[in-house]
Each structure stands twice: as C-alpha cells, then as structure tokens.
Amino acid sequence: MIAELLFAVFFGLLLLGIHRKVIARIQRRPGPPVWQEILHMLKFSFKTTWVPATASTALFCGVVLVAIGIWTAALVVVLSGGSLLVIFAIYMLHKIVEHGFGLSSGSPYGKFGGVRSVISAASEIPLFVSVAAIAIFTQSLMITDIIAYQEINGPLLITVPLAALAMYVVLLSKMPFGPFSIVESKELVSGYKTEHFGVWRAGLEVCNGLKTYVLLLTFILVFIGNLPFWLVILAMVIILITLSFVCALSPMLSPYDSVTVQTLIAGLMVAYVALLGVMS
C-alpha cells in the first residue's frame, strides 16, 4: 500500500503536469515540462516556511494534515474495493479543506477563495447522482461489487452514459484552469491557497496529486471496470487529455455563472436519476 501511495502522489502530479502541457500546446504556447508539478512540490518543501501573524495556527497547519489524510483514506478505500459512498463523502469534505485553507490565514484573498468554494456547493450533486444511478443498477455501492457487475453486464459507461457524464463534470470541476475553478482564479492571487506557502503548499500539492489520481482511478473502476495496470494508466491519461481540451477551450466562468451552470447541471442530473428510479 505504501508503494501505491507514493506512486499515486508522483503519478497524480505528473498527470497535472501533462494537463498543463496539453493546455499550453492547445493555446500554442510551449508550456512547462510535464514534470513541472513534481518539481513544484519538491521546491516548496525546502523553502522558508512560517505561519502568518494573523492566522489561526492550529487550523492553518492542521488543515494540511487533513487534506493529505482524507485523500490517503480515499486511495485506501478505492484500492481495497470499499464503498463508493465513502469516496463521495471524501470528495465533498474536500470542500471543507478548501474552506479551511482559505479562512484560516486571515488573508482577504484566501477568504474569498473559501467563500467561493462554499457557494459552489452544487458541484457535488452530480456525483451523488452518479452514485444513485449506479446503485439502481448494481444494487450495491461496494467498488468490488460494481467491478463484478461490469464483468458480467459490460461497462456501466455504456449502460448509464449520463451517470458517467455526471462524474465527468465532477472531475472537470476539480481540475485546475477549468471553467469552474473559481476558487483559485487569478483575481484572487491563488484563491484559497494564497497564504499557504513553503512546506504547507508542498502538502497541498501532494493532496492535489493524490486527488487527481484517486478521482481518475475511481472513474475508470466504476464506469469501465477492472483493466490491466498499463491500460488503467493509459485510460487515465486519455481521460485527462479530454479534460485538458475542455479546460483549454473554455473560459473561466464568473462566480455566479459558474454556480448557475453547476446548479443547472445538478438539476438535470437529479431529474435523470429520478426518471431512472421510476423506470426501474
């Protein structure tokens, strides 16, 4: 498990690097090297570090531990074939992490990042929809059962394509530089992570790497099924590149527009799963 954890951190960061590179190439820029995010993480971990004078110290440091801890837990759950509901819970609780990062420092930029993270609460509803749609078909939310169901009945991607789309939107709303990434937009400097620098930011980078890896892995396991390791890696990169295309070609929405679009998507998805429930 320790080896998988370390692999997940580095490969997740590499995926984020590929994401940046693809966006840059689409926008006809050279872009940073693909391992840039790994270098960032290493660089931040030996920079001068302190806690801002106005910060709430315990929360400021503690939230970094929580951020890494919850995504480590998510990885353990995915790899051991646990309940999809736990992944859903951890995904939602990541919002608290963003909120905690933003508010604990006393910086106005961080605070606005945190508040924006709170108002985009509708971005989580599509994940619940995909969980509910899967539950209707598989009668279980354990990832092992979902994989077993797919071995008999074919990938859920074909059975419930709209649920897969819902989860895709969820992935998109957590990708950096995407249309919904209002929590870290440039008018807020770096949004919720503005005041977390040095070692704290290195921790956050590790959390981002893990998060990207876990979410992509969950998508593959839940909608495509159990693949050989090299195919999983390939599928991850392909899904990531499609996400990068969306991110590169769409502008970042204004906060209210982002919330409106997310709420509309959530409403449509809830209507879809209600229809599925009635039909089954």
């Binding site: 929360l59 509901l85 951890i90 939602m92 608290i96 420092s105 106005p108 709170v118 539950a135 959530a266």
Partner: protein
C-alpha cells in the same frame, strides 16, 4: 442494499436505540471529531481588511466573551454532528440535525456585523421551517412501519412511503444544504475560521448522512 456504507464494524446498543459504525459513518464521525478538536485548540484568526483610499489595513479582533460563546456553540455543533453521523434511529437523527441548525445560528449570531446577523436571521427562519417536514417525516415513518430503527427499516420488510423520505430530505435541506446553502455563504463573512468552518462542515456531514439514510431505507 444493507451495506451501502461498507460492512458494519461495531454496534453500540442503548436499549432499542443502536449506534453503529460502518466505514462510511466512521469516516464522517472522525472528521467531525477532528474539526471539533481544532475548535477546542485553535485561536480564531484575525481577518485583515484594507482601509479604502490608502495603504492602511487593519485586523479584526474577536473579543474574549464572543470567542467563548462561539467556541461553546461550535463544540455543541460538533457533538451534534457526531451524534447525527452514527445514530441508527431516525428520530434521533432528526433531533441531532435540528440541534445542528440551532448551533449554526448560534455560532454566527454572536458576531457584531449587520450583514452576518441578517444572514443568520434568514438562515434561522429557514432552519426553523425545516424542522416541520423533518419531524413529520419521522412521525410518518413511525406511524406506517411501527419502528424508527434504521437497521430494522433497512431489511426492506415494510415499504416506507416515498413522501416520508421526501419530507426528510426537504427538512435536512432546510437545516443547511444546497440550495439554501448559498444564503449561508454570507455567514462566512464572519471572522473566526475554526467556528464558521463548523457551519460548513455540519451541513456537508448531515447531507452525506441523509444521502446514506435515504439509500438505506
């Protein structure tokens, strides 16, 4: 569908009220506990604000009496959350959720800012209105099935009215989840990060738990 949150790890029985831990409820419980500990041990941050028309800035301080009251309310909120996460009884769940609503209003009502108090007042009204459908859902479940134990209800022997489930969700929505949640955003203007985070955390936790309860019933 009995094990949607993973296989139960541990049961704690108080007569016919059973508290149970699955990997799902345990995760939520531990997070509520961790953030309650943060409330206990951390001092509030001092929000920096810029004075318009110059380079000056000032830090908002929280007075000791306000700090004590809000810390008390946050800890109460954390305890209510932990209760709501692990209880195996529908009525207990609704009680804990309504307590979370009250504590959330309490956490922000002590802040001396007009915007925050307005938001707290509006949220308080919604939370109060939310208790009506929530308790009526519990009453309907008790009346139609004769039990409020989630473990009994999860066996699927007796059909639970869809209206009861819908009312339960509506009630919990009133206590703090989206879309009423957006009104809560205004509450986060309040300084005192460890305390306002409890508002946000409690809403997410009760939303997650009600999702599990609905799938379970």
């Amino acid at each position: 569908m009995n094990e949607i949150g993973g296989a139960p790890l541990f049961f704690l029985e108080f007569g016919d009220i059973v508290i149970y831990f699955t990997p799902f409820t345990l995760t939520l419980f531990i997070l509520a506990l961790v953030f309650t500990v943060f409330v206990l041990v951390s001092r509030p941050e001092r929000q920096i604000d810029i004075a318009f028309g110059g380079d000056a800035y000032y830090a908002k301080e929280i007075s000791l009496s306000e700090l004590r009251f809000r810390r008390f309310m946050s800890i109460a909120c954390g305890l209510a959350c932990m209760g709501a996460m692990v209880t195996g009884d529908v009525f207990d769940f609704t009680l804990f959720v309504s307590l979370v609503g009250i504590c959330n209003v309490g956490i922000v009502a002590a802040v001396k800012s007009r915007h925050v108090q307005n938001a707290a007042y509006q949220y308080g009204l919604v939370a109060l209105a939310g208790t009506v459908p929530m308790f009526s859902a519990a009453a309907m479940i008790a009346a139609t099935t004769g039990t409020l134990s989630m473990l009994e209800l999860a066996k699927g022997m007796i059909l639970i009215p869809v209206a009861a489930k819908a009312l339960l969700v509506l009630g919990v929505m009133g206590e703090g989840m989206a879309p009423f949640y957006a009104a809560k955003a205004e509450m986060f203007r309040a300084p005192g990060a460890p305390y306002v985070i409890m508002c946000s955390l409690s809403s997410l936790l009760i939303f997650l738990r009600v999702a599990e309860v609905i799938l379970l019933l």
